[in-house]
């Protein structure tokens, strides 16, 4: 009897959920024996890296799992709806509306892709309300505008009738949240709702979700790979790895006293502002100088009517030799353009780039032709996407040897092979793997290949453009370690471009902050992270999702602990 009572306390109860994917290679297990329960008003953080099965779990609650996903016996998803236990996996036809909207709503990662692009947002929200709440059009409209106001959209009446492309990224996610709330659900599933957003907007959206949750008393299943975000929002945390739950419990316990090594590894990737590297005693000589650099891209039209978009405006910058320089900025700040310009791969409209202490001096700029081969031996790029940056039709050996062969830097094939093997060892690529094609490797290994290719012609400067953004945190850590190693052993100067402040804090010696094509501030890591001078930098630093137990959470903690204890006792009484 007690067990039944306990179940009815939970809003959602997932028991022994196992999901297989039917693929060309046979059945692949995506979720293995997952059990999870959410109480009314509780925020559950579901944490894991890509492929850990967290999204498919959320989708199967809504019965939105794709056709090739097979939910295995004896999986059970029970939803407590108005005092009745509903078996979600047995719902058919119209009854599905119960989980799709009535009781559960979902927010997706990419708001742009989740709204119909050709229908005004108002119509989409009004329709939802008409179906689920039975409102008439005017009623729904008034309620919708009220919701827009509630999620913090300025001028809600005007925004309500706009199309999704007319809104900014943060605004879109707010509209998405408004739409999810429009049916007054008991449970809100948020699948990486802030991953595609810039940190400052991420902080705003998280604050909004916390606020709404306080006001509406809604339960939330919050899916993310970022433990910092989880620590800000969740009461309880479930950590998944390869389809299995490796650790679950109260947020503070999991985050501050992790038991499973995997959780610890995830935590290690978080920025630790108490342990920032010391600045070197003296500032080294600059390796390269950027003077009054501007970069413009043509946008619309052609010929005389062509409009130009200025990505970088008059930046002057010296990069100290032998250091890792972080270049931080939100999307659209021009950081990638600046990085590419240093490699001669962006249209420079004015200003120059000059390399000082290299074997041969290289200088180029507006109206000055680039000595491509000389530059290629001095500076190289490590790309963001480890998939598209390697030619899938060449072996790893050929990919790494490409600069040597293209510029004819070696005299014989043997010498090329020797150089390739040497650099492969340095980047921890097994020599036997050189015969393989890129399709044999995971993202992290591919990124090593990419780094090896950049290093093979012994450059002095490397630009790493968001080079770990596409990787999972635990693999990120390995690549970052490799970059540090290379800096120490080869004396490389690395410019690391990233939007992720935690990576910058872990890796860099010197940090430059960019905003809308302009350099806002630069300084040592300590200066930037601990004593930012400019208002924008301060805002940026403040929005880092650090690991913390907020006051609000600490207030809630005692009663949650009490609840947890109660359920443990209940289990013990049952002899479970």
């Amino acid at each position: 009897m007690m067990i039944n009572q306990r179940i009815s306390e939970n809003l959602l109860e997932i028991r022994d959920l196992s999901i297989d994917f039917n693929t060309d290679e046979g059945l692949v297990r995506a979720v293995d024996n997952l059990s999870l329960s959410i109480r009314p008003g509780e925020v559950m953080g579901l944490v894991g890296e890509s492929g850990s099965g967290k999204s498919i779990t959320a989708k199967s609650i809504m019965r939105l799992a794709p056709g090739n996903a097979i939910i295995q016996h004896p999986s059970q998803i029970t939803l407590n709806h108005r005092g009745q236990a509903v078996n979600v996996l047995k719902l058919r036809g119209r009854d599905l509306r119960l989980v799709r909207g009535d009781a559960v709503s979902m927010i997706f990662q990419e708001p742009m892709a989740s709204f119909a692009p050709a229908i005004p947002i108002s119509d989409q929200i009004i329709q939802t309300m008409q179906i689920h709440l039975g409102y008439d059009k005017d009623q729904a409209r008034r309620a919708g505008i009220e919701l827009f106001d509630r999620v913090g959209i300025v001028d809600p009446a005007k925004r309500f009738d706009q199309y999704v492309f007319e809104l900014s990224g943060g605004m879109r996610q707010r509209a998405m949240i408004a739409m999810a709330l429009s049916t007054q659900p008991k449970l809100l599933i948020a699948d990486e709702p802030t991953t595609a957003l810039d940190v400052t907007i991420q902080a705003q959206v998280l604050d909004l979700m916390m606020e709404l949750r306080e006001q509406l008393g809604m339960a939330m299943l919050f899916i993310t790979h970022d433990l910092g975000v989880v620590s800000k929002i969740a009461d309880n945390v479930t950590v998944m790895q390869r389809g299995k739950v490796v650790e679950a419990g109260i947020a503070d316990q999991v985050l501050f006293q992790p038991e499973h090594p995997y959780t610890r590894r995830l935590l290690d990737a978080l920025p630790n502002l108490d342990n920032l590297p010391e600045a070197p005693a003296h500032t080294p000589e600059p390796l390269l100088s950027v003077t009054d650099l501007s970069i413009s891209y043509p946008t619309m039209g052609s010929g005389r009517k062509r409009e130009m978009y200025t990505a970088v405006k008059n930046i002057s910058l010296d990069l100290p030799e032998g250091q890792i320089i972080g270049l931080v900025g939100e999307s659209g700040s021009g950081k990638t353009s600046l990085g590419k310009a240093m490699l001669g791969a962006a249209p420079i409209t004015s200003g120059t780039v000059e390399y000082h202490h290299t074997k041969k001096k290289v200088k180029f700029g507006a109206g000055k032709a680039i000595k491509r081969k000389r530059l290629a031996r001095t500076a190289q790029l490590v790309f963001q996407d480890p998939y598209s940056s390697l030619n899938p039709r060449m072996t790893v050996r050929d990919i790494i040897a490409e600069p040597l062969e293209a510029m004819k830097l070696t005299k014989s094939r043997e010498e090329t092979d020797q150089r390739v093997i040497e650099v492969a060892k340095r980047c921890h690529i097994e020599v036997e793997h050189l015969r393989r094609f890129p399709h044999a490797f995971s993202g992290g290994q591919r990124q090593r290949i990419s780094i090896a290719r950049a290093l093979v012609c012994k450059p002095e400067f490397i630009v790493a453009d968001e080079s770990v953004a596409a990787l999972d945190v635990s693999i990120q850590a390995e690549i970052l370690k490799l970059l540090k190693e290379l800096k120490d052993e080869l004396g490389l100067t690395i410019m690391f471009i990233s939007h992720d402040l935690s990576v910058i804090a872990n890796l860099c010696d010197w940090v430059c902050v960019m905003k809308q094509g302009e350099l806002v501030e630069q300084g040592t890591v300590r200066q930037i992270f601990l004593a930012p001078q400019q208002a924008y930098t301060q805002k940026l630093i403040a929005s880092i999702p650090l690991l913390h137990s907020s006051e609000g959470r600490q207030q809630r903690l005692p009663d949650l602990l009490q609840i947890a204890e109660d359920s443990v006792n209940a289990c013990q009484l049952q002899g479970v």
Partner: protein, 414 residues
Amino acid sequence: MNALLARFGRKAKPAKNEESYYTAGQLALIKARFKRKTSGVVAAWILGTLVLMGFFAPFFSPADPTIGGADGEYRRGEPQVVFFWDDQGFSLRPFSYSYEKATSKIDLKALAGGGLDALDALTSSGALSSSSQNKFTVDKTQRRYLQFFVQGWEYSLIDLSVAGLDLDIRWDRHLFGVEQGQIHLMGTDEDGKDIFSRTLHAIWVTISIAIVALVVKLVVSLFVGGVSGYFGGRVDTIMMSITEAVRVIPPIPIYLACAVALSQIDLTPIQRYFAIAVVIGALDFATLGRRLRTHILTERNQDYVLAAQLCGSSTWRIIWRHLIPSFTSYIIVDTLINFPYVILAETSLSFLGLGLTEPVNSLGVLLQKAQDPDIQQNMVWQFFPVLVFVVLIMAFVFVGDALRDAADPYSEKK
């Protein structure tokens, strides 16, 4: 699955295969994935057999398909069935019977006498209707055994004597035949030409037209698509406008116009055959050209091309080492998928009587013949080329389909 394979004496893939997967190049990966699709493999075997039989048609044919090899004794004859046994017993060597033309019993004397009854008898006996002209009596006592590698009419097995090169390999052996007379597996037409042999010869004529047409098409579309895609901008706009203009012209009127133009010039059947192939190919570039352009446009913006540029590779090296390999598999697949359409184009031209005409053996010509009511009523065996045509097209479609699925081995690991 593994248990099933084990039962058939195959072991489950050992771990070593994993390494071979990792080091597999593009072709090996395509092959491996292609083999997984049974319908494609079966179709590939059928296709291979048909094309091979077409290419060595003279060897596989028991009779010369031209008028020179026509069997005067057996015009409009039905298929001669090959047996292994009959009432007189079993024979390891397959045999057929000898056929004798049934002479109609016309009472010439009575006719000459002017008796109306005799005339009545003649008309009602059916001797005058064409259906009675292919009446043959089978002499079941006289077996004609099938012989293998028989000597027959001389033909050139492989003819490479182009531009002064004398490489014409001639032979006179044929896979099978009979001792006396000829064997007609699929019957004969009104001239006594062997349908089976004609069909085999027609396969290669049709396929070679398709090959010529596809090569012309490929060259034109590579040029249009390549230039348009690589240079982009205004060049792209102009070339794509022209392409679109060509695309909207319906093909049949153009073929009609070309056929009229071709008939003005005095051409041998062979020359006409090439002219048709070139016309078909040249007018069909629009779709492939456009696709190649799109492909180059997207591929050009891939990171690995930028990576190659930053590695100091020259433009030529980028095109040759990075861009071209990226769409060779695509071109191969596209060409194979387009094969049936080109064959259909040739067939429809011949069918309309605009392409190749009667003495030449092409599937289109034979198909056109099959629409004759005389054949439909009295010589249904002349539908054999239709059957072969359908099988050939289906085989191409299935192989192309399976190959398309297999062709992008890099799509699965993303």
